[in-house]
């Protein structure tokens, strides 16, 4: 079973999916400070910190591989309590459910792309990330993290927005900010998304867990057009020349569903990861 669901899911709510459990979307708006307690003048920037941490861990990759592996292991064992947040890939169908339930939903600039490509997205036509919950009401506390501000969206608008990024080929990742508190649905790709990169290149799994789904291809329907090969951010699909069709390696598949939404003949279906004995412990 997915360890995040085990810790934060409710078996009676949405099949136990932690990110569809309303409790993980809920937070108070206000806090009474102690009389002598002042608002901190400087904040931390979790995404930047995790990028710097990767740099520190990485330096051992070639000089001291044992230490490197040990540090990666430790980071994963922290299960989100350390410098790496919890994130899980979700297909767009589940992202719809999230934006229907959570409030407010706002588009904002992607923090990873700011850090990794110095790419500024300064208005709602450029924003590529989705923030969720009461934290969005207080974005002006940390304008450095919300360059350009936030753009509140009604659920239908938010779905159209997800479709826009899905069409372009972005993977949706549900992200937490502090424990199991869901703070966003990111639209991610390799290499500018820190979470995908940390997982694919360094094995930090916490921030980019595989989804509860996995893609399955119907060879009778596949015409071998290759659209899905282009859309997969995880290199799970290859063109199998002898069959003149494509082939999905389900062990590599993250279950993002991009191939499914792109396939012109509906040859791809997402099936429950846990229905396959060989995959039910692969997260």
């Amino acid at each position: 079973m997915c360890w995040v669901c085990e810790a934060y899911g409710d078996p009676e709510v949405e099949n136990g999916r932690w990110y569809l459990n309303p409790k993980n979307h809920s937070r108070n708006m206000y806090k009474i400070k102690k009389p002598d307690q002042k608002a901190a003048a400087y904040g931390s920037d979790p995404e930047a910190q995790s990028g710097r941490n990767i740099g520190e861990i990485m330096q051992f990759r070639f000089t001291d591989p044992d230490k490197f592996n040990q540090l990666i292991k430790e980071a994963n064992a922290m299960k989100g309590s350390g410098p790496f947040q919890i994130g899980q890939v979700i297909p767009i169908q589940e992202a719809y459910k999230v934006v229907e339930m959570s409030y407010p939903v706002a588009s904002m600039s992607c923090i990873c792309r700011i850090h990794n490509r110095a790419q500024e997205e300064r208005n709602e036509h450029e924003y590529s990330c989705t923030g969720l919950g009461v934290g969005m009401l207080k974005w002006e506390r940390w304008p450095e993290r919300y360059k350009g501000g936030v753009n509140f969206m009604a659920p239908d608008e938010a779905k159209e927005w997800l479709v826009k990024w899905n069409k372009k080929g972005m993977v949706h990742i549900i992200m937490t900010f502090g424990g199991s508190y869901v703070g966003g649905v990111c639209n991610c790709d390799y290499p500018d998304c820190g979470m995908i990169r940390n997982r694919v290149d360094y094995g930090i799994e916490t921030g980019c867990l595989k989804s509860h789904w996995v893609a399955k291809i119907d060879y009778d329907l596949c015409t071998g057009c290759g659209v899905c090969v282009q859309r997969c951010q995880f290199g799970a699909i290859k063109f199998e020349v002898t069959l003149d069709k494509t082939n999905i390696d389900q062990l590599k598949c993250f279950g993002c569903g991009l191939c499914e939404t792109g396939c012109p003949t509906n040859a791809i279906e997402l099936i429950d990861r846990e229905s396959l004995p060989g995959l039910r412990e692969v997260w």
Binding site: S26, M29, Y30, A106
Partner: protein, 192 residues
């Protein structure tokens, strides 16, 4: 491309003056003393009736004043919430608009630093009181037996109902847990 964000120093927390005004007017010590006085020598049935009368009235006034002062003392969190609601449609006022006034009401009268919000989504608003001062006061002044009847629940329930009615939101209010049995009280407003 927009300019760099001009530095601003907003307050996102509740106005302390407002909290003080509410605390003075709706002191749990006072209302529990009033109740303790009123039930002296009364039978069980009468105690329930007294509790209902006293706490319902208290709850109604408490939340109405929280609503009134909450509007008079806005903060940046509320201003941005109103912007968001304006942009996304009034239907989505629930749950955050009522949540704000509940937080004002409880944070002003109880010794808590946050009001635990269990759910706040477009369908349900659920919150919890763990270490309730009203209950503690009742226990001290009227004994555990009377306190465990939770006459004070009338205040919380009435407050939550009145709040949604005054905000013109159709919601069903329920009590989902009670301190004597569950260790905390939990109230839920579900969109009707």
């Amino acid at each position: 491309m927009k300019e760099i964000y001009e530095a601003k120093n907003y307050s996102y927390e509740l106005n302390p003056d407002m909290l003080k005004l509410l605390r003075e007017e709706f002191d749990v010590d006072k209302v529990t003393s009033k109740f303790a006085e009123a039930i002296k020598g009364k039978s069980a049935g009468e105690i329930e009736a007294e509790g209902k009368a006293i706490f319902e009235e208290y709850g109604r006034n408490w939340i109405r004043q929280s609503l009134k002062l909450g509007e008079e003392y806005p903060d940046r969190t509320y201003e941005v919430l109103l912007e968001a609601i304006d942009k996304t449609g009034g239907y989505l006022r629930f749950a955050l608009a009522p949540q704000r006034f509940l937080e004002i009401a409880y944070l002003s009268t109880q010794e808590i630093s946050i009001l635990p919000i269990i759910e706040n989504n477009v369908n349900r608003l659920v919150y919890r009181m763990v270490d309730c001062d009203t209950y503690k006061n009742l226990k001290e002044k009227c004994g555990e037996e009377v306190a465990n009847l939770l006459p004070c629940r009338h205040a919380c329930l009435t407050a939550c109902e009145t709040l949604h009615r005054d905000l013109e939101i159709d919601a069903l209010v329920q009590m989902e847990a009670q301190i004597p049995k569950d260790g905390y009280c939990q109230f839920a407003a579900r969109r009707a």
